[in-house]
């Protein structure tokens, strides 16, 4: 078991390292460094910049040094909790990202919870009532869930919300709570607004999971132990929940490893359509204004969020499945 944990941790660290290199590449990609664009912006707004100031800035950020030194410098800063400055906003990146990252996590977790809560019962239903009308309906739903990219679903929902219900769908808070400090009322308000993003983001994953659950359970239902339990006189409902569903759920739990990156990815675009105050809109504007420090940090943090989420799901899986817990 320790070996399993160690292996997962090692892979997680390796992934984070690869991610940090990729994020650094993204920061470096645009022509010129961020001081160049900073100075361009300064002189545009009428400010003057002395040659010494430029040189000082470059030295402070280590831009006069070779690439790998710059990378190491950036990494050590981040590991010390200093995420750098946003040049377009002139504020520390940490200030800008803080609450948005939290809300991103909340939205993603809500989407995953929705996915699980919906896919599990439907998957069981579809397997038990194989080839029934309901099964076909859910299969059809599954096709569309997979085929409709989440941001298009959000667009269509926005239109339907406006046309049919006359409400503007979007945001995570009512206007009254937008700038209010955190309180119980604000959390309740947030929960109400979470439903639509959770549905939009969870749709594709739900469709996939229903299929996984249905296929797994169908494999289990034909096995002799199910027949034995039935012969023993167990009620159908109890039998189902107690044995085959539990076995079929294991691959289900591991599916979070591919669900989480998907959901985090889609949050970015969906947030823009539904104007959610997550890091998504911030990432897009930072990329458009070439505020690469901010953009790179967001990419890095989103990746870390994904890796940690996957790691946690792996540990849950280990706790759920004795075959993994005891085998290695």
């Amino acid at each position: 078991m320790l070996r399993y944990i160690a292996r997962r941790l090692a892979l997680g660290v390796l992934t984070m390292w690869a991610l940090s290199v990729l994020s650094f590449v993204i920061i470096q990609l645009p022509p010129g460094d961020f001081i160049t664009s900073y100075i361009a912006r300064l002189s545009q707004s009428g400010g003057t910049s002395a040659v010494e100031e430029v040189a000082g800035l470059r030295r402070a950020y280590g831009l006069d040094q070779p690439m790998y030194v710059q990378y190491l410098k950036w990494m050590s800063q981040i590991l010390h909790g200093n995420l750098g400055m946003s040049f377009s906003e002139n504020r520390p990146v940490a200030d800008l990202i803080g609450e948005r990252l939290l809300l991103t996590t909340v939205v993603c977790v809500a989407a995953i919870v929705f996915t699980w809560a919906v896919a599990l019962p439907i998957g069981i239903y579809s397997a038990v009532r194989k080839y029934s009308m309901g099964d076909y309906l859910w299969t059809l739903f599954g096709f569309f869930g997979l085929a409709v990219p989440s941001f298009l679903l959000a667009l269509v929902l926005m239109y339907v919300g406006f046309e049919v219900f006359g409400v503007s769908v979007g945001g995570l808070f009512s206007p009254a709570f937008e700038t209010a400090p955190w309180s119980l009322a604000k959390v309740t308000d947030l929960l109400k607004h979470l439903i639509i993003p959770a549905v939009v983001l969870g749709m594709a994953g739900t469709a996939q999971l229903i299929r996984v659950m249905r296929a797994n359970l169908l494999d289990e239902l034909g096995k002799p132990y199910v027949v034995t339990a039935r012969a023993k006189g167990l009620s159908e409902r109890r039998l189902l929940i107690k044995y085959p569903v539990r076995v079929a759920m294991n691959p289900f739990a591991s599916s979070i490893a591919f669900l989480f990156p998907q959901v985090v990815s889609s949050t970015i675009i969906v947030s823009i359509v539904l104007s959610l105050p997550t890091v998504g809109p911030l990432l897009v504007t930072s990329l458009q204004t070439q505020d690469m420090f901010l953009a790179g940090t967001i990419v890095l943090l989103l990746g870390v969020l994904t890796i940690v989420g996957t790691l946690i799901s792996d540990l849950i899986l280990m706790w759920l499945d004795p075959r993994i817990r005891l085998a290695v």
Binding site: T15, A18, L29, P30, L146, L155, R211, P261, L283, T306
Partner: protein, 389 residues
């Protein structure tokens, strides 16, 4: 997206190709022993109704894409404030009981209360519509210069007369733009997939054939790539494409960026197959006569599962199309004057547009239909890829 199971759940395992007649079925039993692999795959594939439908739709999409300029009637770049944000206008097909194609001229007015532009048809005047009419100039298949279009208005500029799906905020015809966008979006997917196949087959082949440390490194690389949220990453890379680049260069770089998404799944399929085949006798025979590993992988092993590669490719295509659409939608992919589904949808990003001009959402339909069709086709191909199972 790797875990897409057989959608219909109806993958029968026929020993005999499907035939209605029992007598013919008897004959079929003999037929199956002499059938080529290609025939077997086709017989298996034909049984999959949804996949057949997918094939038809995909073929139709590519036909439309190839003939986009011919089927379009208005210059997709022609802007005019006089016809901005116009709702879709029907074409009349009957004139007092006689078949005839015509439309009415539209008069634009501004609502003095809401300041919204409204259009009223002038029923007293008819603009006849001709088939194979002259319109804006283009090159058919990119080679033959011509100006013939399927339909066009007679006696008035087509751009000001026909609006099958309405116009956008700049007065450009959405139907014509949609056709041209279909071409861009479908072919960017194809180009991306071509690069993806190359990467996937080479890396997957090497990984499976050599095994050992090479395999471990490549497998970890794939695992890492799959565990990172892709969209933010590609956004970061796409944002670095300079604004000053020409449309073609942007197109090429976005294709490259998009292709890096699709290769991991293919590499896994190829690796699994190579692992399976590596220990076969003919591989050893090839080794003994002194073939180099490169020759063994690409001449002896890979052709054995071409059908699997084709299936995996078909399943990778919708991913590429969605990737391009997402990037362009965010304004980080293709940029105007290029026209793609994502570029068109970019105009429908805010609630005002969606509320006042819902016809701008039309590109959602081809995106969804194309993805569905590719998925059905790919599922069917994957099931048929191994006709001996």
């Amino acid at each position: 997206m790797g875990s897409v199971q057989d959608p219909a759940g109806t993958t029968a395992r026929p020993d005999v190709p499907p035939t209605a007649d029992p007598a013919e079925r008897e004959e079929g039993k003999d037929r199956i022993y002499v059938a080529t692999q290609r025939q077997l795959i086709w017989w298996r594939f034909r049984k999959h109704k949804l996949a057949m439908a997918g094939l038809v739709v995909v073929a139709a999409f590519y036909l439309v894409a190839i003939a986009a300029d011919f089927l379009a009637y208005s210059d997709p770049h022609d802007t005019s404030a006089q016809r901005a944000s116009m709702p879709p206008q029907p074409i009349s097909v009957l004139d007092g009981g006689r078949p005839s194609l015509f439309t009415h001229p539209l008069i634009g007015q501004r609502d003095l209360v809401t300041f919204q532009r409204t259009y009223v048809a002038d029923e007293s005047v008819k603009i006849p519509i001709r088939l194979f009419a002259h319109g804006y100039k283009y090159k058919f298949l990119g080679i033959v210069p011509t100006d013939i279009h399927l339909i066009g208005a007679k006696g008035a500029p087509t751009e000001n007369s026909i609006f099958l799906l309405g116009t956008d905020e700049l007065g450009r015809d959405i139907f014509s733009r949609l056709l041209v966008a279909t071409r861009t979006s479908l072919f960017i997917g194809l180009a991306g997939v071509a690069i993806g196949i190359a990467l996937g087959v080479i890396l997957g082949g090497i990984s499976g054939f050599y095994g050992g440390i090479t395999d471990v490194v490549i497998q970890r690389m794939i695992e890492i790539l799959r565990s990172i949220p892709t969209i933010p990453l590609w956004m970061g890379v796409a944002a670095a494409v300079p604004h000053t680049w020409s449309v073609e260069r942007v197109y090429f770089s976005i294709t490259l960026i998009v292709s890096v998404i699709g290769w991991t799944e293919l590499a896994r399929v190829v690796r699994g197959k190579v692992l399976q085949i590596r220990d076969e006798d003919f591989v050893m025979a090839a080794e003994l006569v002194g073939s180099k590993p490169r020759r063994i992988i690409f001449v002896h092993i890979v052709p054995l599962f071409t059908s699997h590669i084709i299936a995996a490719t078909t399943l990778a295509l919708p991913l590429m199309i969605v990737a391009e659409t997402s990037l362009s939608f965010l304004g980080l992919g293709l940029r105007a004057p290029a026209i793609s589904w994502g570029v068109m949808l970019q105009q429908a990003q805010n609630i005002q547009t969606v509320a006042l001009a819902p016809w701008m959402l039309v590109p959602v339909i081809p995106v969804v239909v194309a993805i569905l069709a590719f998925n059905f086709l790919g599922d069917g191909l994957r099931d048929a890829a191994d006709p001996y199972s």
